[in-house]
């Protein structure tokens, strides 16, 4: 009868990624996120029309982008990765297969992170291109600044998606509300505070990495860019690891 081979982590994650991508394309969330990430571009275009331009404009838009949009979009897409499987009990279908359970998390995360990265990086690049459009010589002068902003974007998408996945595995019923609570308290709240506690917020590190203006004072610290890149990467990885562990031990409770 059965003559199937074992399924590797990579192969299983690939299958989950395909499935998740198919579902995302058919759902509304992806398009909502695409629209949200188009806002900085539209906003910048309008501001250029009304006489603003240059690095100052880019930095102002990027400030809002890194504080609010960048945390929000991956959270919206990644928080249901584990929670929807547990809430709707669909994990019972996939965990009855000889595939590593963690592949579910990794595959679905890849489906979320890939397109989000594409959209977010494009959004930053277009915002920059529009901000510098009046004086083309600014492109060359600020190219390095763009690269830093793009690196911060890549790190941020990964980190916020990892943290949102973890929250989704802890708060099965209302994962996005839980992530939103975290974003408001830690990322927006602490991230804007002129005290050393702001180092706990990934949004602070990402803005530091992107060379944006940060709240300063006697209670703040200067942190090297490499450290600011490492902190969100480590936090995101820990989030993904813990989410994988919770899935590996997940049991199917329910009525008889």
């Amino acid at each position: 009868m059965s003559a199937q081979s074992a399924v590797s982590m990579g192969a299983a994650a690939g299958i989950y990624r395909e499935l998740a991508w198919t579902r995302m394309k058919r759902g509304r969330l992806l398009w909502v996120c695409a629209s949200l990430l188009a806002l900085p571009v539209v906003g910048t275009a309008l501001l250029v029309i009304f006489g603003h331009w240059g690095r100052t404009l880019f930095d102002e838009v990027a400030e809002i982008y890194f504080r609010f949009l960048l945390p929000f979009v991956p959270a919206l897409l990644a928080s249901p990765i584990v929670s929807e499987e547990l809430d709707q009990k669909t994990f019972t279908f996939v965990f009855a297969r000889p595939a590593p359970r963690s592949a579910l998390v990794l595959g679905k995360l890849a489906a979320v992170v890939g397109p989000t990265l594409g959209m977010a990086v494009t959004s930053v690049a277009l915002t920059w291109a529009l901000a510098m459009i009046r004086f083309p010589q600014d492109y060359a002068e600020t190219a390095g600044h763009l690269v830093r902003a793009e690196i911060a974007t890549v790190v941020g998408v990964f980190a916020y998606a990892g943290i949102a996945t973890l929250f989704g595995s802890w708060f099965v019923r209302h994962p996005f509300v839980a992530v939103l609570g975290y974003l408001l308290l830690v990322e927006a709240g602490l991230g804007s505070a002129p005290i050393v506690l702001n180092l706990l917020a990934m949004s602070w590190h990402l803005r530091n990495l992107a060379q944006l203006a940060l709240p300063t004072g006697s209670l703040t610290l200067d942190v090297p860019a490499l450290v600011s890149a490492a902190v969100p990467l480590v936090l995101g990885s820990v989030g993904i690891g813990l989410a994988c562990m919770s899935v590996a031990d997940a049991e199917y409770h329910g009525k008889d």
Binding site: F93, P98, Y252
Partner: protein
């Protein structure tokens, strides 16, 4: 039991599962071989908990569960041989049935082309050929149930667990599902089917395990238990477009002992379910009605289980003999 039947494919040794103070399954020791075995008990008896332990989705609090000689909990190698159709209704609503079954086949290590071929074959066997490219969210309850069954069987498992597989199926779909499950049993797979309706189990097998309040009351042949159940009135709820017309057509039958109406349904009471079950689609056809679903509330079975439990607790009581016969 035949020698083939004695080949152990599922083994539980003192398996128990509790949640805090609540014992869902208590000290279950069972060995099951090839063929179909019915896991019968009223709702809340512990059937699904036992099945979840057998399929490796619930860790036993005590004891062990082995499939094909290997512990099942966190054992991916054994899952290669297992198929599972859970009782819940949740599915990936935005996928088509073909996409779901193909992907789940691929997670068994079957290559993409073969996975799709097998998915198509199984969906066609369950009469979903025309609907396999529609999203599951657009499916009726019965169609969704058949899609769930297809994902459990499409990879040709050696050990198959079906938790309340006929829930929500219309009469025609029931026949189709029973056919497919029987075929798998005939081919030597070990199929465990849970239900709270004896007549569903009886249509598949005579080998049953009676479970009540988390313990196994009896295992063996269905017929001894059957006579006990027949002593109790059996209720069948029929969801259809004109329940009063169906009731009118069936009330003349001498084996119908009572009826009641619920929203969009008639609940018929009988002491002879064997005659009533086939009479329903016949009467519906004659009256030009569409039967959406036939379900059996479990209260009639619960009374029998209560009787069996009391008999076991008081060996001198009348039910003891019947319970022993069932063993």
């Amino acid at each position: 039991m035949s020698a083939e039947r004695e080949r152990v494919m599922i083994e539980t040794k003192s398996a128990a599962r509790w949640y805090g103070q609540i014992i869902a399954v208590s000290d279950v020791t069972l060995t099951l071989g090839p063929g179909i075995t019915g896991l019968l008990g009223p709702n809340g008896a512990g059937k699904s908990t036992l099945m979840k332990m057998m399929v490796g989705q619930l860790r036993p609090s005590k004891g062990e569960v082995r499939i094909l000689g290997e512990p099942i909990w966190k054992n991916r190698a054994v899952l290669r041989h297992v198929g599972y159709c859970p009782e819940h209704e949740g599915t990936y609503e935005d996928l088509t049935a073909l996409e779901l079954v193909t992907a789940l086949n691929r997670l068994h290590g079957i290559d993409p082309g073969e996975a799709e071929k097998r998915a198509k074959e199984m969906l066609a066997k369950l009469d979903l050929a025309d609907a396999m490219n529609r999203r599951l969210g657009e499916y009726s309850k019965g169609m969704r149930q058949r899609a769930k069954l297809a994902q459990a069987m499409a990879h040709d498992p050696d050990v198959l667990f079906l938790d309340e597989p006929l829930t929500g199926c219309d009469p025609l779909a029931r026949v189709k599902v029973l056919e497919v499950v029987k075929e798998l049993g005939r081919r030597g797979a070990c199929v465990v089917v849970s239900s709270h309706v004896l007549y569903e189990i009886e249509a598949l097998t005579s080998e049953i395990v009676l479970i009540y309040k988390g313990t196994v009351l009896a295992e063996g042949d269905v017929y001894a238990v059957r006579s006990l159940i027949d002593k109790h009135p059996h209720k069948i709820r029929v969801d259809c477009d004109r329940p009063r017309d169906l009731a009118k057509a069936l009330v003349v039958e001498d084996h119908v002992s009572g009826l009641d109406f619920e929203e969009g349904a008639v609940v018929l009471e009988t002491r002879d379910p064997d005659r009533l079950y086939p009479a329903i689609p016949r009467a519906a056809k004659a009256a030009g009605l569409r039967v959406k679903a036939m379900t059996s509330p479990d209260n009639n079975l619960a009374s029998v289980f209560k009787y069996l439990t009391e008999a076991r607790e008081k060996p001198g009581a009348g039910g003891a003999k019947s319970t022993e016969n069932a063993k």
